[in-house]
């Protein structure tokens, strides 16, 4: 039987002043979906990062176009898709930073995509410049707490290993 989904959408001008509105929008829906506050925070931050990238890069800080944020939710998953009609980006540049090097070299910026991929369960990028670029971010509703804890432990071990 086909699962019923609820769909919500907000469209705002591409301005950093609108990030708060977008965070509130996804946050309220994530709470309604029954996520813990921790997961609500993750969804909000991932969405913020995706929208910030649109403001800064897709439209180069000029509020020339819209940011569209679609939320689809059903019993299985919560999906946030951030879309824009800007210049797009090179998918080959989506490389996870080495955080040890990043911090040692006092680098700045470029952590948005890394955060999105760390905070969300699945991330899909699509590029179609000046038509529709999008990042689809999925959080599974019934993902087990133990799987989250395991992932956190793996990240801690990785960081400890990198410290040497």
């Amino acid at each position: 039987m086909k699962q019923l989904s609820e769909k919500y959408k907000i469209t705002t001008p591409s301005k950093s002043a609108n990030l708060e509105i977008i965070r509130d929008f996804v946050g309220k829906l994530a709470r309604r979906a029954g996520f813990s506050e921790d997961h609500v925070n993750k969804i909000q931050l991932a969405t913020d990062e995706a929208c910030t990238n649109v403001v800064k890069h897709a439209y180069k800080n000029v509020p020339a176009g819209p940011i569209e944020v679609d939320v689809t939710l059903n019993r299985e998953k919560f999906v946030v898709t951030v879309s824009d009609k800007g210049i797009g980006f090179d998918l080959n540049n989506l490389v996870q930073p080495n955080m040890v090097e990043y911090l040692n070299q006092y680098k700045k910026g470029g952590l948005g995509i890394h955060l999105i991929q760390t905070l969300m369960d699945e991330v899909v990028f699509k590029v179609n410049p000046f038509h529709k670029n999008s990042v689809k971010m999925v959080k599974y509703i019934h993902r087990s707490e133990s799987a989250d804890k395991l992932r956190q432990q793996e990240m801690i071990m990785e960081r400890t290993k990198n410290r040497g």
Partner: protein
């Protein structure tokens, strides 16, 4: 700027400046925080404690402000110490490994004490 969005309150205690940040620190409000730190550097005040007790939210734009200044501050014999992060904010710092680069304290006294100890 709208009320309650973001605010930085500065308090100088001898050669240490305490910046209390309030509200949310994202791409929109980060420039205000940058300005506050820039002002300290222009006044050659390099011992900085940032009090997070009233900060509700931070994104990578906010973290970027710290990264933009920490090298200069340390080259001048100072530091940016972080105090009183709530769980939500600390998790983001921790996720990115920032505790490896920054000293994080539960209270302001311990952060201030560290400056006095050198």
């Amino acid at each position: 700027m709208e009320q309650n969005q973001f605010e930085v309150i500065r308090k100088d205690q001898d050669d240490v400046s305490i910046l209390t940040i309030r509200g949310y620190l994202d791409a929109h409000t980060a420039p205000d925080f940058e300005k506050a730190i820039q002002e300290l550097l222009e006044n050659k005040r390099y011992k900085i404690v940032v009090d997070f007790s009233e900060l509700d939210y931070i994104s990578s734009a906010g973290l970027g402000v710290f990264m933009g200044f920490i090298e200069d501050v340390r080259k001048n014999g100072g530091d940016i110490k972080l105090a009183r992060l709530n769980e939500r904010v600390f998790k983001i710092f921790d996720l990115l490994g920032f505790p490896n680069l920054y000293e994080i304290y539960e209270n302001l006294d311990k952060a201030m004490e560290k400056f006095q100890l050198g």
